[in-house]
């Protein structure tokens, strides 16, 4: 990785840029291959389904002629390979088929539901980072102290308590008993549809419109689901931050920084933390995966009209297109986030630049 033999100057200047280019293009190829793999996986998942896809469209009372017609329309008479190619072609053109329950193209439904999920995930990730990173650092710096134990308890609980159950308990305590938070949905029902949709994220849209009453209502609604999701991010982020930080604090450069006379604070933030910043990017990308998992359950619990609820509705009504398309979309999204974090890592770490 590093060269300590060159006394004349930076090696970077002499590095043939073609090797870097090759690395980037290899990375691109592997992302594309993975993407194709995702498509194949969801395609075959769809074919595993024990239910007859034709009957799912037509209903059970169907005459032979209609059955055959739909069978042809769905392309089921063609070889699997051809079916996959046309599926892939469709997906690339943004065609994921229609939802059997809403009657809308799935893509359209997903576009409508996505901002709600994104808003929830972003608020949760924000909570997780703002709490988790300082907690992890404090735990590592004061190893064995009460804060370290607290971080450990928070982590263990986050790794053990089922998220849907914590959500239900939150609903029970803060809605049913204390009435501090809104019930299901993104705003109180009488405010619904009052704010013009710009980004699709309620907090942002209401703030743009300057409609603070609705903004408050939206905040009351998002707080609990985001806090529950945020708790799990906090658990994960603090645990990872702690172990990264412990690793850095045991390094020799920390002794050197202290030998210079730097205060504890500068040693921690200007030296140790600077070394884990880039690693934390990867962690936050992974947290995003956990959040996507979590939203499926949390949106169901809180009646949050996002991608997760759309997916569970699809499950309930055996709507294959909806289920497989949503799974695919989440996979692609997660892949995109990971690729982006990987790219940023390479850009930001001086050793891999």
């Amino acid at each position: 990785m590093t060269s300590l033999t060159n006394t004349r100057g930076p090696r970077r200047d002499f590095l043939p840029s073609s090797s870097k280019l090759r690395a980037i293009s290899w990375r691109a190829v592997s992302v594309i291959l993975t993407l194709a793999g995702l498509l194949a996986l969801t395609f075959f998942m769809g074919r595993l389904l024990p239910d007859d896809p034709v009957l799912a469209v037509t209903g059970y009372e169907v005459d032979e002629a209609t059955y055959q017609k739909v069978f042809k329309e769905l392309g089921l008479d063609r070889p699997v390979w051809e079916q996959f190619m046309s599926y892939m072609g469709g997906v690339l053109q943004g065609d994921l088929g229609r939802s059997l329950t809403t009657g809308q193209p799935v893509v359209q439904d997903l576009m409508r539901a996505f901002p709600a999920t994104l808003e929830l995930a972003l608020v949760a990730a924000l909570i997780g980072s703002l709490l988790g990173i300082p907690l992890g650092i404090a735990a590592a710096v004061n190893r064995g102290s009460w804060i370290d134990h607290l971080a450990r308890v928070i982590g263990l609980a986050g790794y053990s308590i089922p998220i849907f159950w914590l959500g239900l308990m939150g609903l029970f305590v803060f809605y049913a008993k204390l009435n501090w938070i809104g019930a299901s949905g993104r705003v109180d029902i009488f405010y619904e549809g009052m704010t013009p949709t710009i980004t699709g994220m309620m907090l942002v849209d209401t703030a743009i419109a300057g409609d603070w009453t609705v903004f408050k209502s939206a905040l009351r609604h998002i707080l609990m689901p985001a806090a529950v999701l945020g708790y799990y991010s906090t658990a994960y982020i603090s645990r990872m931050t702690r172990s990264f930080m412990l690793e850095q604090l045991s390094q020799e450069y920390i002794i050197a920084a202290r030998a210079k006379g730097l205060s504890r604070r500068s040693v921690i933030w200007r030296h140790a933390f600077k070394n884990i910043r880039v690693q934390l990017l990867t962690v936050i990308a992974l947290v995003f995966g956990g959040l996507l998992d979590g939203t499926v359950l949390i949106e169901t619990v809180f009646g949050w009209p996002g991608v997760g609820q759309y997916l569970t509705r699809g499950l309930q009504f055996n709507d294959i297109n909806v289920v497989m398309s949503t799974v695919l979309m989440i996979g692609v999204l997660f892949l995109a986030v990971n690729t982006a974090s990987d790219f940023l890592y390479r850009r930001l770490d001086p050793r891999t630049r």
Binding site: T7, Y253, I255, A256, N275
Partner: protein
């Protein structure tokens, strides 16, 4: 050495408590350091590095340290708080570590690691600190300081890294320098250059140096006086020039196990050890 010593340590003891047993790394070490080069020689585990770090109070938090006395000039290091120690470290006592590959922060450009020392100990502007850091890079004989200033540690060689390390530690003009195996991790070819550079800088600045090493040959050439450590204790203190006259069997053993150009031997003797060395010393102390 008529005036007050820069550093005086008496009966330093350091132990590391474990789950079932306690490891006593340093057991009653005493020495005084004036404006001289004092070598500490010993095998791995003899407690020499721990002694160096103890003087700066940079031991890991689990370590237990006691001493009858540990003074820098007229200041009692034992009673100083952590923040008071921070004002001593770097400014009055500095330390060069073994391997620049690990002792330089990998994600901070080397120039900033030098200016940091200035900014910590002198009320100067960032610009002035930069100028001073460039001057320091020049003083450690780095050609093209402007360019090196913005480089990251992985972009410089080992020898250059150690020069940067020296620049960082001498930036605030300390009066005591602890050099903990400063050349052991370097290529054999650059070791000599670094030692020469250190020697020059020490002479210019009249530093008191605690030179920690396992290399008796290096120490006898470079230092004025030598402490020989064995199993956490000083077994012998001797002028570097008179080291051949050393009495203690352990020191003699060390000397005998060194190869020499003018007296070739078939096979070097293995180093003998004797549990009595550490025991009777303790009795002598009491």
């Amino acid at each position: 050495m008529s005036r007050q010593p820069l550093l005086s340590v008496r009966d330093l003891r350091i132990s590391f408590p474990g789950r079932h047993s306690t490891v006593e790394a340093v057991r009653g070490v005493s020495f005084e350091l004036g404006s001289e080069k004092l070598g500490i020689v010993g095998e791995s585990g003899s407690g020499k590095s721990v002694t160096g770090r103890a003087v700066m109070k940079l031991l890991p938090s689990i370590a237990r340290m006691t001493a009858e006395e540990m003074r820098f000039g007229d200041r009692d290091l034992l009673t100083l708080s952590e923040s008071e120690m921070c004002a001593i470290r770097g400014r009055h006592i500095a330390m060069i570590l073994q391997d620049p590959k690990y002792s330089l922060n990998p994600v901070v450009p080397v120039g900033h690691q030098i200016t940091e020392t200035y900014l910590r100990h002198a009320k100067v502007s960032k610009r002035a600190a930069r100028e001073a850091a460039l001057a320091m890079l020049d003083a450690v004989k780095i050609r093209n300081p402007e360019r090196v200033f913005d480089q990251y540690p992985h972009e410089v060689s080992g020898g250059m890294g150690q020069r940067v390390m020296i620049a960082i530690m001498l930036a605030a003009e300390p009066s005591v320098l602890i050099a903990d195996e400063p050349t052991s991790a370097l290529d054999v070819t650059v070791r000599f250059e670094i030692m020469q550079l250190l020697d020059e800088l020490i002479a210019q600045r009249q530093l008191g140096v605690l030179f920690i090493s396992h290399d008796l040959n290096l120490v006898r050439r470079f230092c004025d006086r030598v402490l020989i450590m064995y199993a956490g204790q000083v077994v012998e203190t001797i002028d570097a020039a008179r080291i051949d006259e050393a009495q203690h069997p352990y020191t003699r053993g060390l000397l005998n196990s060194m190869p020499r150009i003018h007296a070739p031997r078939e096979r070097l003797p293995a180093l003998a050890r004797d549990a009595a060395w550490s025991k009777d010393l303790r009795e002598v102390k009491r």
